[in-house]
């Protein structure tokens, strides 16, 4: 009951944010947090629930951004461009999965890293198609149902809707039989095979699901910046979102969101005050690894429970000491 109330309050605060945050700068930062949260949630399907660490997800993310930018810039309709961008992200996920799922662990990580860098290399070098380092301008944001998304608050609401859909999809997926199968394949792949599961196909479907939401995030990212350059696809972007997932807490619903909020806040807000914000972010990551290696969200829950129990127990144990 308490959890439900807390969730309702959080939801109300989230949706009404443009009403109580007047400054469009902060509304935009909130949009960025949500876009990265969707990205991190998508990656978390693989990292957290499938136990497969990908370092190539920026390739899928950026491919969706590039597709929508390229199509819109060349005059395609917004809806068709958006659908094509998501389809490209899912199709490329299938290619990544076919190649990378030959391995698990470090092998999987290295293959996804290489594939991501290939996509980056194409964007960087195939100048006639991608305009190379100069990138592509998206022109305008779409107008779903005739509502312009040009203002920060309208775009934020659009992003919130996508974010809530992503969160709901994740919540449904992890509770479903297929989600349970994916976690089973993470913990005991041999046993799962012996129980009659097709471990490869389960992982493949997990990869597609992850790739779809990564594509959604990439699409929103394109709308947000209205510009895309090869930087978006680079390994550092893959590493950054992986850090979000790991620092927030893998295999949890809220962890990737907290991780995204932390990294985006450091990158945008803190960097305005502290020149060496990277150093601060690094220190925060080290602190997280030392104090709560399971991630911010599960770690905070653990520390909170521990503190609560300690507070409750101390007078009782003192009373018990009396003869």
């Amino acid at each position: 009951m308490r959890a439900r109330t807390a969730a309702a309050i959080a939801l109300a605060a989230l949706v009404s944010l443009p009403l109580w945050v007047a400054n469009p700068y902060y509304v935009n930062i909130a949009s960025q947090v949500l876009i990265y949260a969707i990205f991190a949630l998508g990656l978390n399907v693989l990292v957290g629930y499938a136990g497969l660490v990908s370092l190539g997800h920026a390739g899928l993310f950026g491919l969706a951004t590039y597709t929508v930018a390229w199509l819109v810039a060349s005059g395609t309709g917004q809806l068709a461009a958006a659908v094509a961008a998501l389809a490209m992200a899912v199709a490329m996920s299938a290619v990544f999965a076919l190649l990378a799922l030959r391995a698990t662990g470090i092998g999987f990580l290295m293959i996804t890293l290489a594939l991501g860098q290939i996509v980056w290399g194409i964007a960087y070098r195939w100048i006639s198609l991608t305009n190379g380092d100069n990138g592509i301008n998206l022109g305008t944001r779409p107008m779903p149902f005739g509502i312009p998304l040009a203002s920060a608050s309208n775009f934020y609401v659009f992003t919130v809707i996508a974010f809530l859909l992503a969160l709901a999809a994740m919540a449904v997926f992890v509770r479903s039989p297929l989600g349970a199968s994916l976690r089973g394949a993470r913990d005991q792949p041999r046993r799962m095979t012996a129980l009659g599961y097709n471990v490869w196909l389960i992982r493949f479907l997990g990869f597609l699901f992850s790739g779809f939401w990564t594509g959604v995030a990439g699409l929103l990212f394109g709308y947000y910046h209205q510009f895309v350059s090869p930087q978006v696809l680079h390994l550092t972007a893959s590493a950054e979102v992986l850090l979000m997932v790991i620092s927030g807490g893998t295999g949890t619903l809220l962890g990737p969101i907290a991780g995204a909020a932390l990294v985006v806040a450091m990158k945008t807000v803190a960097s305005a005050y502290i020149e060496r914000w990277n150093l601060v972010l690094g220190a925060i990551f080290v602190a997280i690894i030392v104090l709560m290696p399971e991630g911010l969200v599960p770690g905070s829950v653990r520390l909170w429970r521990w503190a609560w129990r300690w507070l409750l127990a101390s007078p009782a144990s003192a009373a018990g000491q009396r003869p």
Partner: protein
């Protein structure tokens, strides 16, 4: 018809022959014990039967059907279940969820990405019944990580039985158990109906001999002796290879 028929099965790892032309015919409802010293190739034989390893030569037949070329993951659907020597369960889940996962493996529902698994009543009822069979119903909701080794062995067997197998392969079900736990598992195995054919690998001769009708002795991947309990125990080669007397 034989329940499980292994013909001329062979497997080598490099120059090491771990399974050398093994023939094994297990009748429906039979209780077969496979014994042999460490490294005799007993678990390898199980892995070849379940398809986790691909044989170099020979074939495996399940109730007359050649399953040699069938993927490992398809074989449980044909009625072949196994337990592992080293317990391989899902430590973060409850006992009930472990068994539900075993049931789900044979259900088309396993591909469903939308329904909540927790509300699948019939799966939970079946899983509870499977746990009741092994006497663990009372702790069904306990996380696996909070159970004893003996209880986990029984969860393994419950998961295998939940799949309603026709042939059940048990890889050292008594390993690492206390005397009391052994008695529990022994009673549990005795209660399995004859519709289930059982092939068991076991080191513990006391409990295992009592259970088995026929015994196969493996040594260096070869079948050395096969026969009834009395025949195998009496055979001088058994004493030489295994009993060490």
């Amino acid at each position: 018809m034989t329940a499980l028929d292994v013909r001329e099965l062979a497997k080598s790892f490099g120059g090491l022959r771990v399974t050398a032309n093994v023939n094994l015919a297990v009748a429906p409802g039979e209780r077969r014990l496979i014994i042999g010293p460490n490294g005799a190739g007993k678990t390898t034989l199980f892995n070849l039967i379940t398809g986790e390893l691909t044989p170099d030569a020979g074939s495996v037949h399940l109730f007359g059907r050649d399953i040699t070329g069938i993927a490992s993951r398809r074989r449980p659907h044909l009625g072949l279940a196994r337990t592992y020597q080293i317990i391989t369960l899902f430590p973060r889940d409850t006992l009930l969820q472990n068994v539900v996962l075993a049931l789900l493996g044979l259900s088309r529902l396993r591909w469903n990405p939308l329904l909540p698994l927790g509300s699948q009543r019939h799966l939970r009822e079946l899983a509870r019944a499977a746990l009741a069979r092994v006497g663990l119903e009372a702790i069904a909701e306990r996380p696996l990580s909070e159970t004893s080794y003996g209880e986990r062995r029984r969860v393994e067997i419950a998961m295998a039985l939940a799949q309603n197998p026709r042939v059940l392969l048990l890889d050292e079900p008594f390993a690492g158990l206390s005397t009391d736990e052994r008695r529990d598992v022994q009673r549990l195995l005795a209660s399995i109906p004859r519709e289930v054919t059982i092939v068991m690998i076991e080191h513990d001769m006391d409990v295992a001999l009592e259970f088995a009708e026929r015994i196969t002795l493996l040594h260096f991947g070869e079948v050395i002796v096969e026969g009834t309990r009395a025949e195998v125990v009496k055979d001088p080669r058994t004493r030489e290879v295994y009993l060490g007397a």
